[in-house]
Symmetry: C2
Subunit: 307 residues, 2 copies
């Protein structure tokens, strides 16, 4: 297996590109894919202030690394979710990476700053924790970026993540979610633009990127995500990709090009009808309090919160 | 396991309905599901002349049986595809069923009547046989129904078939095919209405129906369909259904209700732009000859056809 560029020994092959790369040229390949995604979807300009949502996992650290090398002014925000053992370790990985590259890292702790943790939220809502977690992340990354004058929030969603979410949305034909599933969600009243620069890169590639670049990341899956539907969708998509390399990319990019425009009207209408949360000012569809503030209120009044 | 209706011993359970049935009540259940599908999608009226596309497999024989019991004037058309061993055996099952119930069966033989068989078509096109086979079936069922004054062609596509085709279309975002994927394709210039009354019933249920009703069907999969992508999609969907009963039904019916309308405009436009085939008069998008007549021409001029 030889590098497509220099014909030296390759360290990774990517079947859907029918290509293999040595370490150096693989890093170049990843940068090119990020540049192409940013350009194709008009994600951001070099002059803009970027807030990277960092979790300490491979995707978000690789994203921060790639954006920094592409000379974006990218600062990180780590959100402490209060998941025993897992959250502390993730923070250590994030801090170590930031300090090794001299990058600016911000930290918000859900428990200290907002009065509840994800395990408490899961227990008071009697639902799978991933819902409360996603909701909290979207809310807090957006409000931090808005309050501190960032132009754009970049998240580490990769091709596998997007394909799995898309499959879930398609299997249930969640037309509202389909209208909002796009590599760029533009700036709107109360919303900072959100972009996914890793959309052209797969999970396995992001792990390889971190290894090659010597980035030490949180390898464990979140212990609360066990049995999460998306992990099942990833398995299914891996089986399809195995049989037909490029299947995931065709699924995600075909959606963006040909189907998303059909679903986006309803999402646009929904956005236009948003009000402002009475407590925090964030956009909300759900009445006087936004979903995050309602979750916070519920967690505060529940006996579990005090335990 | 007890029958939901009579509490007698059940012979089949259907997880997505959270129900089990004895033989008699399962047959009633199947009839109810067909009645509901026909009614919900306005498939046909009792006074209309129905042509059932029969292959000798479980789905098409069960369909014919169900429509007859629901008092539709349903005649069958068997298409001889010229697949060694398989086609002859399928015809025997079809004839045996028709004569046992005293039903009118028509027969068209692709080799004798149109000058080529599916194996020849596959060999001259150098493609998977399923493409030429589907094309030939659509063409010949439609033209037979049109030439003999039937109001509607009914096919035995079940819920699993529809889910697998839908998954394939969605994975590649085939927007044209998505616009045409519906349990009813209405009558249009040159097209007889096409309906799928088994859309609410799964593959396993159709096999059980035939066993319970004593219908002897062709059990073998078509030998030319091996490695067919749809079989892979069925596996994937079975895994999803196993984890979450009702997943297939939610996928197919969610599509019909909420997504198909978004895709159907382009299909309508396409239909409006159809011309008539110079050779057979059938509707065509592809120039002066329709795809079937071109296939026939190609097969006739190929040396393989004579072998």
């Amino acid at each position: 297996m030889k590098c497509r560029v220099c014909r030296g020994p390759a360290v990774i092959d990517i079947r859907r590109h029918n290509a293999a790369f040595c370490g150096d040229h693989f890093v170049t390949h990843c940068r090119e894919q990020v540049k192409r995604a940013v350009h194709e979807h008009k994600m951001m300009d070099p002059a803009e202030r970027v807030l990277v949502a960092v979790s300490g996992g491979k995707d978000s650290l690789a994203l921060w690394d790639l954006l920094t090398d592409l000379e974006y002014a990218a600062e990180g925000l780590y959100l402490g979710l209060g998941i025993d053992g897992y959250s502390d370790e993730s923070l250590q990985h994030t801090r170590a990476y930031a300090s090794s590259r001299g990058l600016k890292l911000h930290e918000v702790d859900l428990g200290q700053d907002d009065g509840f943790t994800i395990p408490v939220a899961a227990s008071v809502t009697h639902r799978a924790p991933c819902g409360a977690c996603g909701l909290s992340k979207r809310h807090l990354f957006n409000s931090f970026a808005r309050d501190h004058g960032y132009d754009v929030v970049a998240t580490g969603h990769n091709l596998d993540d997007e394909a799995a979410v898309l499959l879930g949305n398609v299997l249930r034909w969640e037309t509202g979610y389909l209208g909002r599933q796009h590599p760029v969600l533009p700036t709107a009243l109360g919303f900072v633009r959100k972009v996914k620069p890793l959309i052209r890169l797969g999970e396995r590639e992001m792990a390889a990127y971190c290894v090659i670049r010597g980035i030490d990341y949180q390898v464990e899956e979140c212990p609360m995500a066990e049995g999460n539907r998306h992990l099942g969708y990833k398995e299914v998509l891996n089986a399809l990709e195995d049989r037909s390399p490029g299947a995931k990319a065709a699924f995600v990019f075909g959606f963006i090009d040909r189907a998303h425009p059909l679903f986006s009207t309803s999402a646009d209408e929904e956005r236009a009808a948003l009000g402002a949360c009475e407590s925090c000012g964030s956009p909300t569809t759900t009445g006087s309090l936004c979903a995050f503030c309602r979750l916070q209120e519920r967690a505060a009044s529940a006996p579990e919160a005090a335990e």
